[in-house]
């Protein structure tokens, strides 16, 4: 099966080469960071986590969202998703890989990363996050690979894979819950200290992930012979619609609790992202852009005519993905540090090398995704032929 990554059209090779070029730039910047320390990033004593950890948080959601195609197919025998479960699982593989890389590039002493295994610490949520993320990566590689191999041979998947498939469903929920617990259990970080965080993370993940999957399906239909089918895409669109509405609802719940209770600590974070605090307002344009896109996407998705029209659906999915990427992949993590524990407002802005590393990791993720999708699509094309 693996050999299919080496045969492809010129377009396919161009895609791989351009992704590798971006990876190379990111890797160069990472070597620079490695020799000079994290001082080359925009992070500081006060905002001690930045885009790296924010990307990690967002991508855990993308990875978890594979469950949105796996669950209907395997638990409810929703056959229409049979064609795209592999796309969901391979998307999860590349997303978790990016998550792990974002953790590594964020470490001050990456060569000591294995200390987490050498000194296992069950009271640290980060220890559990390491367990669930690696577990999820292996489950998806094993399941995806075996299901695809069975499909190629035209046989039922081997019986030992089935329990792993069922395990992957609660496991997907666990990765985002544990990731939310990284934040939701810290005293003194008011924007993070909210019991609804895991639910909020899951809702936004189940909107962002499937919207990316829709866009990927449309891309594949345009550039390959693989067609996910209108029904599958429309069903995904329905999932995105509900998840997006729930996601917006959850954020509004946060706004209510903070402002009706009038507790300063709870309001600070929201005031900072929407209006700025003490004249510091670097995040507000992003937050408003995310808000406008979120409501715009919700409007399109709620309108059946526009949801079924592929052009408007594409716009809606792009808006959902970008809006939630801004909310989770930029704002959520950074705004948790504002104001600081000593009530100073310190802002963060990523540096150029930091941005290059971020883009480099994303490119590496998409490179892996391209290889995995190439295998899956080649096999599906061969079977269709």
């Amino acid at each position: 099966m693996l050999e299919r990554v080496f045969t492809g059209s010129e377009k396919y090779y161009k895609l791989l080469m351009s992704l590798l070029a971006v990876v190379a730039v990111g890797f160069g910047c990472y070597l620079y960071q490695l020799t000079h320390g994290l001082t080359v990033t925009g992070m500081s004593r006060d905002v001690s986590w930045g885009l790296y950890i924010a990307q990690f948080t967002f991508l855990v959601g993308v990875a978890a969202s594979a469950v949105m195609v796996v669950l209907p197919y395997y638990l409810h025998h929703y056959k229409t998703f049979g064609r795209i479960t592999i796309l969901g699982e391979f998307l999860a593989v590349s997303a978790v890989t990016m998550c792990l890389l974002f953790i590594i590039v964020d470490l001050g002493q990456p060569q000591r990363a294995l200390n987490v295994l050498l000194h296992p610490t069950p009271n640290s949520v980060l220890f559990w996050d390491m367990i669930v993320l690696n577990g999820y990566l292996f489950i998806n590689i094993i399941v995806g690979w075996n299901v695809l191999a069975a499909e190629r041979k035209g046989v039922m998947v081997q019986s030992w894979v089935k329990p792993l498939i069922y395990l992957s469903i609660p496991w997907a929920v666990s990765i985002h819950t544990v990731t939310a617990f990284l934040y939701a259990g810290l005293p003194g970080r008011h924007s993070w200290l909210t019991a609804i965080l895991a639910a909020r993370f899951l809702a936004s993940a189940f909107a962002a992930g499937p919207s990316l999957l829709i866009l990927l399906c449309l891309f594949l239909r345009k550039h390959t012979k693989f067609d996910a089918g209108k029904e599958a895409i429309q069903k995904l669109a329905t999932i995105v619609t509900y998840a997006m509405l729930i996601s917006i609802f959850f954020v509004l719940l946060e706004v209510f609790t903070a402002f009706y209770s009038n507790i300063p600590g709870h309001m600070h974070g929201l005031k900072y992202i929407f209006f700025g605090l003490e004249g510091h307002a670097r995040l507000t344009p992003w937050m408003w852009a995310a808000t406008v896109m979120a409501f715009g996407a919700a409007f399109i998705l709620l309108n059946p005519g526009m949801r079924e029209n592929e052009m408007t659906l594409k716009i809606a999915c792009t808006c959902v993905f970008l809006s939630l990427w801004i909310e989770k992949g930029i704002i959520f993590v950074i705004s948790g540090f504002v104001p600081t524990p000593t009530e100073h407002v310190v802002e963060y802005y990523p540096s150029i090398p930091e941005l290059c590393i971020v883009v480099g990791v994303w490119a590496l993720g998409f490179f892996i995704l391209s290889l995995l999708y190439k295998i899956a699509i080649s096999i599906k094309e061969e079977l269709a032929a």
Partner: protein, 261 residues
């Protein structure tokens, strides 16, 4: 002859790898290994080290802009003076009342309190969130005396403890600190780039029978160090005879640094 196929070799190899990888997990569940070291005969020993900071003494008896405590600490511990707030390392430093005790101030707070600076440092909390989150046990609460310890050699630099500390007491070496240490103290190790550090209540001095450097350096005697577990200790006497406050007591971390204002 036994079956020596590649398959069986791989099976045995795999089983061995699995066994080895399970070793740390087994170690964790095994009983704690008792420390083989005993404290030096002249070491200061306490069950629950704490500090009482009398800000009135600091303001009244100390000179304007006195930095004796932080300078002593910085020198003893090779704390670098990087000179920009982004990368700076702070163990003990001054903050205004509204910043040290957020939410406690009002528009009628006496001018002398609102405008003066308070000394803040690691609170060596009884329930420290920083040690709870560390994935490598590079920071931990020492059972014998309650000092929140830090092992910069085990730290992987994930900075989870910095996110967890509600007092901003932890610093990260964003860059190599050594060039920024003007007058290095060869008796105390320097840190490397990429690890977290903080006040350790001078555990290295306690072990030699010395009180913390900041306490020793304060000419106004505003900083008092002692054992909360000992009813006759000076800190207990001060807590008994003065109304004291702690930083963010509502978070339940139980800070062990008390303030008289």
């Amino acid at each position: 002859m036994e079956d020596r196929s590649r398959r069986s070799f791989l099976k045995i190899g795999g089983a061995c790898a699995l066994g080895l990888s399970a070793l740390p997990a087994i170690k964790v569940s095994a009983a704690d290994v008792q420390s083989v070291f005993s404290p030096a005969p002249n070491a200061l020993t306490g069950k629950k080290w704490a500090m009482v900071i009398d800000m009135k003494k600091c303001w009244e008896k100390g000179k304007e802009g006195c930095k004796d405590c932080s300078q002593a600490c910085n020198h003893v511990h090779n704390v670098p003076d990087i000179g920009n707030p982004k990368d700076e390392i702070k163990w003990i430093w001054p903050e205004h009342f509204a910043n040290a005790f957020p939410g406690q101030e009002s528009e009628y707070t006496p001018e002398e309190i609102a405008s003066k600076e308070f000394i803040i440092l690691c609170n060596h909390c009884t329930n420290p969130p920083c040690t709870r989150v560390c994935p490598t046990q590079a920071t931990w609460k020492r059972k014998e005396d309650g000092v929140v310890m830090m092992d910069p050699h085990r730290c992987i630099g994930c900075r989870y403890c910095m996110a967890a500390c509600p007092f901003g007491s932890r610093s990260f070496n964003f860059r190599d600190p050594k060039p920024f240490v003007k007058d290095p103290n060869p008796k105390y190790p320097a840190r490397m780039r990429g690890v977290v550090e903080k006040c350790t209540f001078c555990e290295e001095r306690l072990a030699k029978g010395q009180i913390p450097a900041c306490v020793e350096a304060c000419k106004a005697k505003a900083l008092v160090f002692g054992d909360l577990d000992d009813p006759k200790s000076e800190v207990r006497k001060l807590l008994h005879s003065n109304y004291t406050i702690r930083r963010k007591p509502e978070l339940g971390t139980e800070p062990n640094v008390y303030y008289i204002i």
